[in-house]
């Protein structure tokens, strides 16, 4: 696996060269918070921010995404026929995505790209994207990625892993897509054995800096129904205000709602992020709501992340340990605590 060395004073020039072939996304400060956004011509990604408030899932799964359009003008031959929206899927690169977030995109792919169904919008965006990750040298106190089959230097889901070496970056090229991006940016100086050793040391230090351990080893063996009927859910859910913050900041929450909007003769079909925290999410046309109570919704979120997904795909939990929900939850519901409670739960016989 090739590792390239990039001087920081050549970084900006390289990105500017890459911009000619790729649309770049990266972390930028919007008012007081950092978010991933398309970079404007003269805008550089902020490579110092440890994590953004929202995950970069929007780069392949925008909060509001145009899917289809139709005209209602009956003089047109294709009137009332929904046709796929004209979306730009030319090459793009997400710069500075953190390893847990790339891991999350890999997990979400299991949902959007299955044997039976391929979501064309998500998959086309994903296919068009090169993920240029940035290792986490100094994990935050909220980071528990090492417990969730990821980690500060995790390579899963990435095309390139950058490591900040202070004066420069080391770029570990992981896929042909990554190789193409680096070549396009003109980065090609090979790293030395000394550099590689330093990178390993940083990796070890970063992994050791994560002190939160979350136990997940029993989740697979637990009975789904036992967990579903466990008595602790009311207590977990009491403080929940059922806002959508946890689901919106989460890199692996992928649920959506589809809406049609019409203005004049133009109809557009959108999808918007939706949230299992909202009662409307499961409200049936009949008026029945199978998750009408707050506790049922809170349980759904944790069961989906930590049990249903695990049972269905056998690829670990659908949590990557980024800690965003822990940090942003207005009432401090802590998935680390809930996961430990689930993992340790033994039903009373």
């Amino acid at each position: 696996m090739k590792v390239i060395k990039i001087d920081k004073n050549k970084w900006t020039k390289g990105l500017d060269t890459a911009r000619e072939s790729y649309q770049l996304f990266g972390p930028v400060k919007i008012k007081e918070n950092h978010c991933f956004a398309p970079l404007k011509r003269d805008q550089q990604p902020d490579m110092t921010v440890v994590d953004t408030v929202l995950s970069p899932k929007s780069t392949v799964f925008p909060q509001t995404e145009k899917l289809m359009t139709a005209t209602l003008d009956t003089s047109k031959p294709n009137h009332h026929l929904m046709e796929r929206a004209d979306t730009d899927y030319s090459p793009r690169a997400v710069i500075g995505i953190r390893p847990f977030d790339a891991r999350a995109i890999d997990l979400v792919k299991l949902n959007f790209d299955t044997k039976d169904h391929r979501d064309p919008y998500w998959c086309d965006a994903h296919d068009a994207t090169t993920f240029v990750g940035l290792a986490v040298n100094t994990p935050s106190q909220f980071d528990f990625s090492t417990s969730m089959d990821s980690g500060p230097f995790d390579e899963k889901g990435l095309d390139v892993l950058l490591v900040d070496m202070d004066t420069g970056y080391l770029a570990k090229i992981l896929t042909p897509k990554g190789e193409a991006f680096m070549a396009c940016a003109g980065f090609n100086r090979e790293a030395t054995a000394g550099d590689l050793q330093k990178m390993e040391e940083l990796k070890k230090a970063a992994e050791q800096a994560i002190t939160t351990q979350v136990e997940t080893d029993n989740l697979r063996e637990k009975s789904l129904l036992d967990l579903h009927q466990a008595p602790f859910w009311d207590d977990v859910a009491f403080s929940c205000i059922n806002c959508g913050t946890c689901t919106f900041v989460c890199p692996t929450c992928w649920c959506f709602d589809i809406q049609d909007e019409t203005k004049g003769n133009n109809t557009t079909r959108f999808r918007n992020w939706d949230s299992c925290m909202s009662p409307l999410f499961t409200l049936h046309g009949s008026g029945h709501n199978p998750r009408g109570e707050k506790t049922q919704r809170v349980r759904q979120r944790f069961m989906h992340k930590l049990k249903y997904f695990l049972d269905k795909y056998d690829q670990g939990t659908m949590c990557v340990g980024c800690g965003r929900c822990v940090k942003s939850c207005p009432v401090n519901i802590d998935i680390r605590e809930v996961c430990n409670v689930m993992n340790a739960y033994e039903p009373q016989k």
Partner: protein, 315 residues
């Protein structure tokens, strides 16, 4: 704070032991620095987890809506005013409640504290009026009063307005020279400036509805944004739809909002949504001499008719 915690626990334990209440709603310590968790103690043992500090930012009245039990509830000034609202609006009975009032010294703004240190805050402890915040690299001491949340720095009702027990002594109520300076500044803008101000204000809203859900006033069984037949508002990230949500929500709070700041404490995107509700607080005061949640025998001004109403159309 330490003496507050002792008294809160003692009162709560006694209430649960004596069977006067079935549950006590308060705060317990959070799992991360500068966080508390709204918490319901069902047993005297659990009541020992109750706590109090400068991070009790959510409004506990939000947890009373339509509950059936006998409830002990911890209430600072703003919570108590929202309890009054809840009683007036028939969301809870006064007889169901045993209110443990806590004279409030203001809650701090954790995001402001974070700006005081380069690295992330990993601990926050308080003694009296002093908070000690620390990162892995540095530790500093600050005074609570210097870093209050904006709504707390503008609060003139720190003492609970309704209670059955009071923890500690009542605190002095601040007198403000110009309580609506912020609202006046917006009122003085011309139409274009206002438009740009509100455009910028709501930039970044992700419509997670944390502001609405943290608000004790927002208890409608189905919020207008969730109505689907008819659907009043589009669901996407369209500017007009986002504005519609915020404008209408604010108007629904007119004459009811106590400026408790739960909306802003809950917002993950740091949107200053109180810019809307504060204008309505000012109008309520100027037009109707009204402050929300002060008296359980009075209905809010938009809910009543008075012959001396200042508007002409009503005469």
């Amino acid at each position: 704070m330490e003496s507050y915690i002792e008294q809160i626990r003692t009162l709560a334990v006694d209430l649960l032991k004596s069977g006067k209440v079935d549950v006590v709603i308060g705060y317990r310590r959070g799992s991360v620095p500068m966080a508390t968790v709204p918490f319901m103690a069902r047993t005297p043992e659990q009541a020992k987890q109750l706590t109090w500090d400068s991070h009790c930012t959510l409004n506990l009245a939000n947890y009373l809506t339509n509950r059936q039990e006998k409830i002990g509830i911890i209430a600072k000034g703003c919570d108590s005013r929202n309890i009054v609202n809840h009683i007036v609006e028939n969301k809870i009975n006064r007889d169901q409640l045993h209110i443990i009032g806590v004279p409030c010294k203001g809650m701090v703004n954790p995001k402001e504290l974070q700006t005081l240190l380069d690295d992330e805050i990993i601990s926050c402890a308080e003694t009296g009026s002093t908070l000690t915040i620390a990162s892995s690299q540095a530790e500093i001491k600050i005074e609570r009063e210097d870093h209050l949340r904006n709504n707390c720095s503008l609060c003139t009702h720190r003492n609970p307005v309704i209670y059955d027990d009071l923890v500690g002594e009542a605190v002095e109520e601040p007198v403000l020279d110009d309580p609506f300076k912020d609202v006046n500044a917006i009122e003085a803008m011309d139409a274009d400036e206002k438009w740009n101000y509100f455009d910028d204000l709501l930039d970044g809203c992700i419509r997670c509805y944390a502001c609405r859900n943290a608000c004790p006033l927002c208890y409608c069984p189905t919020c207008f944004v969730d109505e689907s037949d008819p659907q009043w508002v589009g669901k996407g990230q369209n500017d007009t739809d986002i504005k519609t949500f915020h404008f209408l929500r604010a108007f629904h709070c007119a004459g009811r909002c106590t400026d408790c700041g739960a909306c802003e404490a809950a917002c993950p995107m740091d949107i200053h949504v109180r810019a809307f509700t504060r204008k309505l607080i000012k109008d309520s005061k100027e037009l109707f001499g009204w402050e929300a949640g002060m008296d359980i025998s009075k209905r809010p001004p938009l809910d009543t008719f008075a012959p001396d109403d200042p508007n002409d159309f009503i005469k």
